[in-house]
């Protein structure tokens, strides 16, 4: 196992280096530079050239690449061209918001999806199976921005149950007497609609994976053996079939959790949720190289390490797997 982990970590380092290089090249291939986008007649050609030089974009491309690798190796992500702030600061301001929303959504969706997928498989061919499967297929294939806007319009505007968008109420956060739990409550209140949207979009995939895996498991000999031993249906389902059917779900949930730091530009934009997904799209569209590169690198790093964790987890979950 130790050898396996060391080998996988070495692979991660090589892949990370490749990703760093690809990111650097891709952004330089994109048309224009951050200054060129400033279509403002007040910015004269001389001023624009001076600004490009100050941003270090006039250096030869190999020099830029060398500085870029050196900075990343030392943990310096540079300053955002747009905000003028250190990139790490911009990311740390937005990342917790994304993790809070997306991780909660993934966990909730996984719990419900697995639970309902189990029931659907157990009731194969009956109305419950049909209802869960249709619900999963319909919600999973909905167009996210449409669903999000519909929920905002209905629950936020028509019923006025929830705020239209945003993450916090100014009144609560500007009041110096507000306790921490009131602030937490306020964020939870604002999180409901985006959470509901993400839950509806994602629970279906876990349900379908679990159902399919469970159906395969139910055909196994050990299930017949368990029945022959006279175990109750509940015990067979929950203690013998479900744990064995969990493997594909673990992969799916593990990777979803990793990708949750990426957030979702669409969800975050529609709900004005100040997260990393929105920031990433903004950085790419504004040629903010340092910020966009750092965001992508962060996502790549988390996903690569999550893969290693999922691989290791497999060995614990399935005694047949040995590295």
């Amino acid at each position: 196992m130790k050898r396996f982990i060391i080998k996988r970590m070495a692979q991660v380092v090589v892949v990370l280096f490749l990703i760093l290089t690809v990111l650097f090249v891709l952004f330089r291939l994109a048309p224009g530079d951050p200054v060129e986008r400033m279509v403002d007649p007040n910015l004269t050609l001389e001023e624009a050239e001076h600004l490009v030089e100050q941003l270090g974009l006039k250096e030869p491309i190999l020099t830029q690449y060398g500085i870029y690798l050196k900075n990343f190796a030392m943990g310096h992500f540079g300053h955002s061209f747009h905000y003028g702030q250190p990139v790490a600061e911009v990311i740390w301001e937005k990342l917790p918001n994304t993790i809070l929303l997306f991780t909660t959504a993934v966990i909730l969706a996984a719990l419900v999806g697995v639970s309902w997928g189990k029931i659907a498989a157990w009731s194969k061919g009956k109305w419950k199976d049909l209802a869960f499967t249709v619900a999963a297929l319909v919600t999973h294939t909905l167009f996210l921005p449409w669903l999000a806007l519909l929920l905002v319009w209905f629950f936020g505007y028509r019923l006025e149950w929830f705020p239209i968008t945003g993450m916090m109420s100014e009144e609560v956060w500007l009041d110096p007497d507000t306790a921490w739990w009131q602030k937490a409550w306020d964020v939870g209140y604002h999180m409901m609609l985006p959470l509901l949207t993400l839950f509806l979009i994602h629970f279906g995939s876990y349900l379908l994976v679990m159902r399919s895996s469970m159906l395969d498991t139910l055909k196994e000999d050990y299930i017949v053996t368990a029945r022959a031993k006279g175990l109750s249906e509940k015990a067979i389902r929950n203690r013998h079939a479900a744990p064995n059917a969990m493997l594909p779900v673990v992969t799916s949930v593990g990777l979803s959790l990793a990708f949750s730091i990426n957030g979702g530009a669409l969800t975050e934009t529609v709900f004005s949720w100040p997260g990393i997904g929105r920031e990433l799209v903004f950085a790419v569209s504004h040629n903010d190289y340092p910020l966009a590169q750092a965001c992508f690198l962060l996502i790549a790093t988390v996903v690569l390490f999550s893969n290693v964790v999922v691989d290791v987890l497999y060995a614990y979950l399935d005694p047949r797997i040995r590295y």
Binding site: G32, T44, Q85, E160, G166, M168, M192, L195, R278
Partner: protein, 577 residues
Amino acid sequence: MVTIKKFRRLLLNLPAAALLAAIAVLAVWAAPAQSAGNGILKIGVLEEPKSLNLWLASDAWSNRILSLMYQPLYLREPNSMELVPWLAAEQPDFDHKTLTCTVKLRPAKWSDGSDFTAEDVVFTGHMIYLYQMPRHYSKWKFIEKVEAVDKHTVRFVLNKPMAIFLSRTLTTPIVQKKQWASLVKQLEGSERALQEILQHDFEEPSVTGPFVVDKWKKGVFVYMKKNPHFFGQGQTIGGHKLGPHIKGIIFKIYGTADAAILALRKGDIDFYWNDIQAGYLKSIENDPDIKLFTNTKSGVYYLGFNLRRAPMDDVAFRRAVATLIAKEFIIKRILQGYGEVLHSMIPPGNEVFYNPNVPKHGAGLDRAQRVKAAYEILSRAGYTWETPPVDAQGKVQKARGIKTPDGKPLREVVILTPPADYDPHRAMSGQMIQEWLREVGIPVVSRPMAFGALIQTVKTQHDFDCFVLGYGKLALDPGYLRAFFHSSQDKPKGWNMSGYNNPEFDQLATESDETMDTAKRRDLIFKMQEILMSEVPYIPLYNPVLVEGVRADRFTGWVPALGGIGNIWSLCEIQAK
């Protein structure tokens, strides 16, 4: 028994039940948290400021907040658009012989309580000059010397007469010397000093404006509270009795216009500080709680030609294209009536410099008349057709096989536009122009291109035929005509994207830049517009009308101006109802 079973099933689905329960409970408990603030104006915006550093944050979204903080010596009065003394105490005293301008300053304080002095003005100029500050340097580089005569008097000495001195240099926002001096000293000798300046961030910038930033939750809201040291409080400036009469402003950041407009209708915000697109207006117009303000912008949207290439290098071709374009149709159908037709590169809202008597190609003609007029222009220039657009009886017909004066078939012309998701008006205008040009047989295709790529293709590479672009917020000083059409700007990344080169225009542009007498300059600018509209390197198309919405039941006293009600005068004058 059945009920127990159902209950057990519900328990199995606990996570879903928990989510639903949380939704219900929060909906009931937390809803009262939505209450209107007392004397606090809530404004919806689509982007937060880049930074509170004036030198970095010069974009339109940042400017909404920073324009309430950093103040200039002179400001435009919203009705007359004349410059009135703002941080200055009176009109500038300009000596044309010695090119010296003396400005007396108003007694004012920075938000930290310290005095605003002539030293701050001198220091601001020094910073701009020293670091070649983007967007400001060109307005200051002709200043030979700026000195503090006394605590409240500044003297500028120019090395040559420059028209923009009064309208642009003296309207530069002033920064506090005390706050920047130590950083400037630290950066002496640094190669990347400008970068350091742009990256510098203050938590509490000292400002002279009516509001200061009190709290900024990144990506969510910015709270500005009233500046107790604001020099204008209770004063009458430019005929306006100033407040502010409100405690503060909350800028709420929305991800989409849909969300911001719903928030306005629901009452979560009092003012949506952005142009409301025509598609939203039908539903808003009938809402009794919303009041709409319609104002003109200082904008120009246009079709540009690449004069470095045939057939765009032929003035007859360009005039024929200008004749074929029905600008009224673009306003009526594409902008749904929310815009004005442009016949010059200076919009009519700029009353001082707009020349109403420029050549107006095809104005007032119907479709058939336009085709006939364009046919006549092209025929006279030597273009021929296999099947001309007008038959022997003078009837318009489908044209085919157009040939250039040298007998070669006219090649396909490409019109580049931004994509529809970036700007549907420009993308659709490109498509309409394509159809109109095809009526006389010009092979043309309108092609949307990602904005970044479009700018690079047009401005840097000059690898294009035609393009549709625009400027939403042009300065009132018409100095931009020189930037757009002077031959010295015809280089990669230069502003003369069409490659227009006319020595007579160049001379007029240089002369106008150095003419400080407004009447004389006006004549020169009028002449420049006549030349441009006769030679049409650009065809001005439209200037969209700005529609803004406020809650009718919350605040009153909004001040309409060129560019909308979102201005410092409004925010200094509005009062809660």
